[in-house]
């Protein structure tokens, strides 16, 4: 059973027949619709009007998370979280959606999907997955993988991941992605027959090469070098930002919570006072309110942190594209070098001159000239190889140009998406700060009112 019997009609999702208006416009729309407030509500407004067939037809959501216990490959007991991936098709006329598929996936399956995408779409900045383990958290948040808050945030992150793919002009048409959404039973076969080997190839060979290639590429593309530099910087600045933000959150938490002690002491103090008593007592109550208000504030801020985190991981995805380009450039240069050396050999044989000192030159000198037939035969072989090499180089060149073109298009798309997303994230962050200030003003105004009655 090498290939599962797939209904040909369903092999591809109802992919857009026309080019999308804006490559990633759909995400904002779906984000607004489905993630329910996980993105800023205002963002969807302008993008909703965009033409987007794929998203009009299908809604994707990760609607639930469930803790499960099972046995792994080693027959060891393990606990993991499964996420319910739901797909709905939306009727054009009334906007009603019908549940078409619903299946459970675990995080590792999402990882497989992503690895597959990385291999098959080397020129695309593949959307990142949410973190496997909580990072950059302030101390009040649990870093436990099974923590309900963490699971919930990861659920949102995984949903966002699927929506990012669904709104990508190329990735959204991928067959495996479609199967991921719809075929629960087929997965095992698919993973083993298609992704398995590729993943092996990818991790064992390419990655290694990719890492070393950095030092060997002679003529790096300046644009990609700059991009790589940018992604390094972006990664470092965002991780620094996240780290400091976690500390800022910690301190802010401290400031608010210590105010809670006023609540208690005012209340105790009020017991021994006559005229001042009532005012103190109720002011104490407001201090309690103040102290507990920080929990919600920081929880909201965590969403901002998650938005930044996505781009922290995007930086890695960006770098992956650069690395692949580098590898390709390396291959090209190697092929060119190989061709050049063969050409030189051929020329040497033909003219009988040795330009550079070589072992071959030495043997020739020592043992005399070979027979002309032998030489002819060797020249012929070399010429064939040169021909082949030229063809190869040509195709590699072509491939490279194609890669650069595609990759650059996706990078442009990515940049636009990034600018829009981050601007929105900053706006929502500012909105959060504003709401925190307003809450603060409210509480202190109430407290002042109480104090004034003392």
């Amino acid at each position: 059973m090498e290939q599962a019997p797939l209904d040909p009609e369903r092999q591809l999702p109802p992919a857009p027949l026309e080019p999308l208006g804006r490559s990633d416009a759909g995400l904002e729309a779906t984000g607004g619709e489905e993630a329910e407030g996980s993105r800023d509500a205002g963002s969807g407004v302008d993008t909703m009007t965009e033409n987007n067939f794929w998203l009009k037809k299908i809604e994707i959501s990760v609607s639930e998370a469930e803790k499960r216990t099972g046995r792994n490959a080693m027959n060891m007991q393990e606990t993991y979280t499964a996420y319910l991936v739901e797909t709905r098709s939306v009727e054009h006329a009334d906007g009603q959606s019908v549940l078409t598929d619903s299946l459970w996936r675990r995080y590792s399956e999402f990882e497989l999907l992503r690895n597959y995408l990385l291999v098959y779409y080397p020129h695309i900045v593949v959307p990142p997955l949410p973190e496997k383990r909580a990072e950059f958290v302030w101390h009040k948040l649990s870093a436990d993988n099974m923590d309900p808050d963490f699971v919930e945030r990861r659920r949102i992150g995984l949903e966002n991941f699927l929506l990012r793919i669904a709104s990508h002009p190329i990735l959204c048409r991928d067959k495996i992605f479609y199967l991921f959404l719809t075929q629960a039973i087929l997965t095992e076969i698919l993973w083993s027959s298609q992704i398995g080997p590729t993943e092996f190839y990818y991790s064992a060979d390419s990655r290694l090469k990719a890492l070393n290639a950095t030092f060997r590429v002679k003529n790096p593309d300046k644009r990609f070098t700059e991009l790589k530099h940018y992604s390094d910087e972006l990664q470092s600045v965002i991780s620094h930002l996240l780290r400091v933000r976690a500390r800022v959150a910690d301190r802010l938490y401290g400031v608010y919570k210590v105010h809670g002690n006023y609540g208690r002491v005012f209340s105790e103090w009020s017991a021994i006072e006559k005229e001042m008593g009532d005012g103190l007592q109720s002011a104490g109550h407001h201090m309690d309110v103040y102290a507990s208000s920080i929990d919600d504030i920081l929880e909201d801020e965590e969403h901002y942190a998650d938005q930044l985190k996505e781009y922290l991981f995007y930086a890695e995805a960006l770098r992956a594209v650069c690395r692949k380009h580098e590898l390709m450039q390396y291959d090209l240069e190697m092929a060119a070098q190989d061709l050049a050396s063969k050409k030189q050999q051929c020329e040497e044989l033909a003219t009988g001159t040795v330009r550079t000192f070589s072992l071959k030159g030495m043997t020739t000198k020592l043992f005399g000239q070979e027979a002309p037939e032998q030489r002819e035969a060797r020249i012929k072989v070399l010429e064939e190889q040169i021909n082949e090499g030229e063809q190869q180089l040509k195709s590699k060149n072509l491939e490279g140009r194609e890669f650069v073109k595609n990759a650059w298009a996706d990078i442009e798309r990515f940049k636009e998406q990034k600018n829009r997303d981050l601007k929105e994230a900053l706006i929502s962050y500012a909105v959060m700060q504003i709401s925190m200030c307003k809450k603060g003003i409210q509480v202190w105004t109430n407290a002042k009112e109480c104090f004034s009655k003392m």
Binding site: R251, G254, V265, E424, A430, I434, F451
Partner: protein, 393 residues
Amino acid sequence: MGRSFGDKDLILPNGGTPVGTSSPASSSSLLNRLQLDDDIDGETRDLFVTVDDPKKHVCTMETYITYRITTKSTRVEFDLPEYSVRRRYQDFDWLRNKLEESQPTHLIPPLPEKFVVKGVVDRFSEEFVETRRKALDKFLKRITDHPVLSFNEHFNVFLTAKDLNAYKKQGMALLTRVGESVKHVTGGYKLRTRPLEFAAIGEYLDMFALKLGTIDRIAQRIIKEEIEYLVELREYGPVYSTWSALEGELAEPLEGVSGCIGNCSTALEELTDDMTEDFLPVLREYILYSDSMKSVLKKRDQVQAEYEAKLEAVALRKEDRPKVPADVEKCQDRMECFNADLKADMERWQNNKRQDFRQLLMGMADKNIQYYEKCLTAWESIIPLLQEKQEAK
């Protein structure tokens, strides 16, 4: 003995005891005063004292700060309508001791703490001097507002004398004698029953001091947390600037956020400074105040104990004689005066405390509101900047 005056036999350099003012501390006049407190001060007050203009003096032996004390008064005890003298902390200390000696039945306001461990606080720093100036000003104002203490002749000298040191030396000789009459009765006597109301005051003060101590610790902790928060914010803002240097279109919004965080940091620093300079000292003053109150209460208990002991002795000796000896009567008199003074002072203190705390806590709320308002303005100002860019695109 004149009501509430333990300084009857003092030689007064300004001449005359403030007769006729012996009972302004009665509850009715207190009520008046309170109502008037809400009025414009100028109308009813006839004595104004301010402490300002601290100056550093460097001598061969020592370095110290003097403060200018300006007095304006229409009272007959003052020859001139206005005085201006310079005094240093130890002069204030001298005044307080004098007041405690000469008015043992009254609650003397506290002075700011004498000294903190050397090196921990810079005694000549602007903040320290300013905080102390405020506390000294408060100290004199409390005396000025007191219906009895404000007429004390030491106070008068303190406010007016050109050469206070000369007066101090002159006073030394008298000190011991005056001290006699008010010397604490040390040991021996055990109080039978403390009257309920004084017992209640005692308990109240213990509790009050305890709670204020807690509030003081909380406030310090908050300031500490805020300072640490400030440190983090100072690092947080610039990260956005660093990021903005990498970006094209995002540069401006990121720079905006960075500036915003900068503004919030400044607002936070102001809040912290206000709390350190205005909130904590008042709190501390009241902690010291409750200590003064407790010591007066203790003195009262001793006077009562003395009376009770005398009464007991009389009862044991002459059971059948109905007449109580004069000295016992005098002692009873003294106790009753003490009780009356103390009650009046306590009441006044309670009212002051209520007003001071109302003001203090409202001030704290105000400072926090102002802080949030500044942050609010900062954040609101960058929203249109971000949105405009978005729409323009």
